[in-house]
């Protein structure tokens, strides 16, 4: 039931937004719906940790460890971003009369994002991923400025182009499944059990097609070009959702396909993923050096992290799988914090240029210290969680004997770290670009930043037992040995 409710509540909230008398309270409805969904997702994961399987409708909606982890991540980011939106969207040049439309769309995006991990029927996943594209295009273009429309157009074309390619991949997988078993009802679990009898060439082809198609949607190089545009132009709460979880959701589908390939005794694709992951990390690291807009900076760091997750999953050992799912968790919580902070800076100074932000500590001690905190965390400095997961991925690589990969990856991570810290150093210290802030920031923005910062600080020093168990269950689903 909980799984069905997780999907029904955002849909209901989106519908309520269309009722004229309720339009004024659209924000309240959104916060209520997304936080209820977060509570339900936490409940689902507690169940998963206890009995390992939650069923909403057998064969349609089921949750295992990996889905439960994704549900928690998506709902956490979506809930907090909606709180942040309350204060953020009232300021700036957003049209107040269209805000209800924004929230309605936001709920629909939440629905689509939550649908992907809750679906057990693999083909509907393709449809759900397409829905994500539709609603996020509308949100990216919400501001109707030239930049926002350009970003939305690029985003629409590049990510919709991936869809037919991925569709071809789903067809090929069905072909392999149908000719091996004669069945025509695919669930992730059923596919994995049948994998050993499927034609390995078909499995590989279907994986590669889905990888290319959905890789574009999760911002893997060289199809990443939409990502910095969309993330710099969209309203900041949307950026947090896009960067924090919208990129990992298609990646989740890729990882499901990978686990099917890994379940087959002959098909092997790990090296492909490692090479493509390294390309993403490399391109992102060097673009980070010369970026001039701080929202784009965080966007490129997303490309980097997607590459790291891909490399970890490609190594396909138990330890590296654990690193991959921890990186997904840490990326989601840290990157959403980064965008809240970026949104706060944008509210204070009204510019996205790194050059124009100087001496932020003096202007607003709150924003300045939070910027230092989140950039250290996102760049992977100890003792923050991303350091832990990247370190565990590197050490898993050493144990798997992938010395070259580890060496290249470590170098690129260091370059990205230096790049981010150089930019942030200039933004925080020095002669202030604006006088000390007198009016207080919107309470909902401060609240969202502080709540988002809590797990980023906490998970670096202490991982609670339920989180650890959930990560382990999720890692098992990736099928590494």
């Amino acid at each position: 039931m909980a799984l069905i409710a997780i999907l029904a509540i955002p849909l209901l909230a989106a519908l309520l937004g269309w009722v004229p008398p309720l339009r004024r309270v659209a924000w309240g409805i959104t916060v209520a719906s997304t936080s209820t969904v977060f509570a339900l997702a936490a409940y689902v994961s507690a169940e998963v940790i206890a009995n390992k399987r939650v069923i909403g409708a057998p064969g349609w909606f089921e949750a295992d460890g990996l889905s439960a982890l994704m549900l928690v991540l998506v709902s956490f980011v979506v809930a907090l971003a909606s709180v942040f939106a309350g204060g953020y969207m009232r300021h700036g040049e957003h049209q107040a009369s269209r805000l209800w439309w924004f929230y309605s769309n936001y709920n629909l995006l939440a629905f689509a994002l939550l649908a992907v991990p809750s679906l057990a029927e693999s083909n509907l996943v393709w449809v759900a991923v397409e829905l994500i594209t539709l609603f996020s295009v509308l949100l990216v273009g919400f501001d109707n400025t030239a930049g926002a429309l350009e970003a939305a157009w690029k985003f629409a074309v590049l990510t919709m182009m991936g869809a037919p390619i991925a569709l071809f991949g789903f067809f090929t997988l069905f072909w392999a499944y149908h000719s091996a078993t004669g069945g025509s009802w695919e669930t992730w679990e059923g596919l994995r059990t049948a994998a050993s009898s499927m034609d390995p060439n078909l499995l590989k082809l279907s994986f590669l097609l889905v990888f290319v198609g959905f890789g574009a949607k999760s911002g893997l190089a060289p199809m990443h070009t939409w990502l910095p545009d969309a993330h710099s132009q969209a309203p900041t709460p949307v950026c947090a959702v896009l960067s924090g979880v919208k990129t990992t959701v298609p990646l989740y589908v890729i990882l499901r396909f990978l686990s099917i390939v890994l379940a087959s005794p002959v098909a092997r694709l790990g090296n492909w993923m490692i090479v493509l992951g390294l390309i993403s990390v490399g391109i992102a690291a060097f673009l980070l050096l010369q970026v001039r807009d701080y929202k784009r900076m965080f966007a490129y760091s997303t490309v980097e992290h997607m590459g790291v997750i891909l490399i970890a999953a490609g190594m396909a050992t138990q330890a590296s799988d654990f690193g991959a799912v921890s990186q997904m968790l840490n990326h989601a919580i840290t990157k959403s914090l980064c965008f809240y902070v970026a949104g706060v800076i944008l509210l204070i100074l009204g510019t996205r240029e790194i050059q124009s932000v100087r001496g932020l500590f003096r202007t607003s001690p709150f924003a300045g210290s939070m910027l230092v905190l989140c950039s250290l965390a996102i760049a992977g400095a100890p003792p923050f969680p991303i350091f832990l997961s990247e370190f565990s991925i590197l050490s898993a690589g050493m144990r798997a004997g992938q010395y070259t990969v580890v060496a290249i990856l470590a170098t690129l991570i260091v370059i990205a770290f230096v790049a981010i810290m150089l930019h942030v150093n200039g933004m925080v210290f020095g002669k202030p670009a604006a006088p000390r802030l007198t009016e207080a920031l919107p309470a909902s923005c401060r609240f969202a930043v502080l709540v988002a910062a809590a797990p980023v600080v906490l998970l670096g020093v202490y991982i609670p037992a339920p989180v650890h168990n959930l990560l382990q269950l999720a890692a098992q689903q990736l099928g590494g040995r």
């Binding site: 509907l124 400025t145 350009e150 690029k154 182009m161 869809a163 037919p164 060439n201 010369q290």
Partner: protein
């Protein structure tokens, strides 16, 4: 080799689908691109009716019907309604590569598709798969190419839809029993295209003054910073 009449006709339709993909690359005007896309979609529907008849599959009949409703009727209507200016404009589509070279590249992509899927199709021992799989992949690749080479809104959208036609053409052969996804996918397309075209292209023209996607180049890293 094809044995029954529906299968033989499917092969004919496959050839024509490939020709219409080439025609889309060769056309210089928006209207022409849309026209060839409609022809291609009609051929796809015809193929799925033929195979649905030959294999007694309700899904393929449904897919054919939805394809006609969505791609032959609704999408061209939406484009004509929402963007009459762009639709009827009689000027050349701006593109990155000239048409003769484009056709040559499309030919290379077709050969590559045949080459890539050859072993798989041979292993399938199904004459329909042997025809549809390479041509479907060629359709996807040519669509992707025209999407990259063309810099205008409507041709880009049509490029995406043509890619999808290719995927479906392979799909009706390799996954004819696949429930739900195909029907839902086409229906979803109509919504996607209508919404994206309606909201974005019109707004883009109002704000920027053109739907030439090549003119959208505000957002990128400064190349000078590389030096």
């Amino acid at each position: 080799m094809p044995t029954s009449t529906p299968e033989a006709l499917n092969t004919l339709s496959a050839g024509l689908i490939l020709i219409s993909a080439f025609a889309m690359v060769a056309t210089r005007q928006v209207q022409g691109v849309v026209r060839f896309f409609v022809i291609q979609s009609l051929l796809l529907a015809a193929s799925s009716f033929l195979l649905g008849y030959g294999r007694n599959s309700v899904h393929l009949w449904a897919l054919g019907a939805i394809t006609i409703a969505a791609k032959v009727v609704t999408i061209p209507w939406v484009l004509r309604r929402l963007l009459p200016g762009e639709f009827y404009e009689r000027r050349e589509i701006s593109q990155a590569v000239n048409i003769p070279s484009s056709l040559l590249l499309a030919l290379l992509l077709t050969v590559a598709a045949e080459f890539l899927t050859g072993p798989l199709a041979m292993a399938a021992r199904d004459p329909v798969v042997r025809v549809n799989l390479p041509i479907g992949l060629a359709g996807v690749l040519i669509g992707a190419y025209s999407l990259i080479a063309r810099r205008e809104a409507i041709p880009q959208l049509i490029g995406i839809l043509a890619m999808e036609n290719g995927a479906f053409f392979a799909g009706i052969a390799i996954a004819p029993e696949l429930p739900l996804i195909a029907e839902l996918a086409v229906a979803l397309d109509v919504i996607l295209i209508a919404v994206v075209v309606g909201l974005l292209t019109r707004n883009i023209r109002q704000t920027i003054g053109t739907t030439e996607a090549g003119a959208l180049s505000e957002l990128k890293e400064d190349p000078a910073a590389w030096l």
